[in-house]
Symmetry: C2
Subunit: 323 residues, 2 copies
């Protein structure tokens, strides 16, 4: 059976082995550049590990696993243009290193490439896999659309936020797992339970991410905390604070949102307001709620507990991480 | 058997009947907007007509036909962003009517939608169809990349230009035909000949387009001539003029390329240079060359001449058009 590290080794080896056409270099170099940057690669690993629940031989799942990683990086390339982001994984974004047109067009080619990888090695179950892939891809676009709309709206509810991160982040974790299960030969019920496991884990994961951005230990988290506060990002924390605050606290919070200078003061003041409003406790409750939903779904998967241990441990580590 | 008008009627009816999700409206409205603008819709018509070469019933080809039209419009949405174009079919482009982020994200969703349409109704031959679709889509991105690179290069050869329009424009005509033939049940040799028919017709069509932009009768052509000259577009004509001119004429031409005002004078002067260098004759030769290659390929298609008449007439009309 594959460990997480085994599957990451396969993924990294296969990504390095991708042969891009030589010309036009301007189209393919940005794709190779982005895919070569360090990343967690949790999605393709999920595909291999879910396949491995059902069979020892996971070769047929490798190209579809890479398809998720390529698709994920396509969304990063285009999202970074839309968000005007300068850095990605500590390196210049594609539209900064080249230009916006390059990021748009190479991103398009990458989306097409992800379809090529998803269909290349699969003979059985091609149609359900493609349907899963296209539906997930569409939902991720919807999630990005909501995310951009929410940045312009003062009145986003918690429910709307959960729906947004479900679409933007969580469905891809569910679907990368489910695709592996389908290739492995899971029946529909198992495949759906595995999807629900990944989906709920993904929601918990994103709320945890929001929490760590404010409360994470910077030595362990690997980046400075407070970034989301400084750019007024509509996170689970900010949305809850806005919805739970009384008139006075809300006025204070809104005043800080308007403040563009004094970054240290702003982070401390907003964090104090979060503390006062018990926002981190609320976030931890939500994380636990979705984590337990994930575990319940995984419990229902009809595979030996022994085989399930690796994915269960990954879920546990994701929830306990402080980085 | 379907006439061109019959197939256009089917396509227009089916495009109007597409049901988009209600939310997020910001993602789907731009897609509906662009698809509702008037367009030639020659690609989806080709898919139906090619299928109709082999069987009377073309229902199975309708969704794949729409896939080409959706894909084509996706390329327009993103190309218009990259080219900073304000108008498309006489109406504001998506990034002008909304904004650039909308055009990027709705374009992405449209590309995914085209895959959904391509695979939806097909049960047999799904894999060759998908391979054709993905390869064509990739080539179109490559063509757009070359097109953008050529705008920055002074030394583009005729051969390079033909290769660029092959990728950017012609492969989609070939592939939209070939997909219909595959669905209709053509054997591989026929399908390839039909592809070559569309491909060479597409190259002829694009050179004709370049020619009409300078020499077309504006009353018939429907738009003012000389637009390509004013924006120094690297067309078949300009590339040939640059490559054929002697030192004196080349200096004159380059001087006019640098000239940003005096539009009427610029059009007349550049057109005179084209005439002097026999560029229109050269263009007409090239058009005829590729048109005849197209006809030879179509000749080899093993279908009753009677059934082939409609597509042959469309090709003839495209070549004889003055608009």
């Amino acid at each position: 059976m594959l460990s997480l590290q085994d599957s990451l080794d396969i993924i990294n080896r296969e990504i390095q082995a991708i042969q891009y056409p030589k010309n036009p270099a301007g189209l393919y170099e940005p794709i190779a550049y982005l895919l070569a940057l360090k990343g967690k690669k949790i999605r393709p690993a999920f595909t291999l590990l879910a396949c491995n629940l059902y069979r020892d031989e996971v070769d047929a799942a490798i190209r579809p696993a890479l398809a998720w990683e390529i698709f994920h990086n396509f969304t990063l390339m285009h999202d970074d243009v839309m968000d005007r982001a300068d850095l990605r994984r500590g390196q210049p974004t594609v539209h900064k290193k080249w230009n916006e047109n390059v990021a748009i067009l190479s991103g398009d080619a990458m989306l097409i490439l992800s379809y090529i990888f998803m269909t290349e090695s699969v003979t059985e179950n091609l149609k359900p896999l493609l349907n899963l892939f296209s539906q997930t891809a569409t939902e991720i676009c919807e999630g990005q659309q909501y995310d951009m709309e929410f940045e312009q709206r003062p009145d986003v509810s918690e429910q709307e936020y959960i729906e947004m991160i479900r679409l933007k982040t969580a469905v891809m974790l569910g679907a990368s797992l489910k695709s592996g299960a389908i290739i492995g030969g899971a029946d529909e019920k198992d495949a759906q339970n595995i999807y629900d496991f990944g989906l709920n884990l993904g929601i918990a994961f994103q709320i945890k991410d929001d929490l760590l951005d404010v409360y994470g230990n910077p030595d362990v988290f690997g980046k400075k905390t407070g970034g989301d506060i400084l750019c007024n990002k509509k996170t689970y924390l900010l949305i809850n604070a806005l919805n739970r605050a009384d008139k006075t606290d809300k006025a204070k919070l809104l005043k800080w949102l308007e403040c563009g200078d004094k970054p240290r003061k702003k982070i401390i003041a907003v964090r104090n307001l979060y503390d006062q409003l018990a926002v981190p406790e609320k976030a931890n409750e939500a994380i636990l709620f979705f984590y337990e939903k994930a575990l319940t779904a995984f419990q229902a998967v009809l595979v030996d507990e022994d085989r399930k241990r690796i994915l269960k441990n990954i879920a546990k580590n994701l929830m306990e991480r402080e980085f």
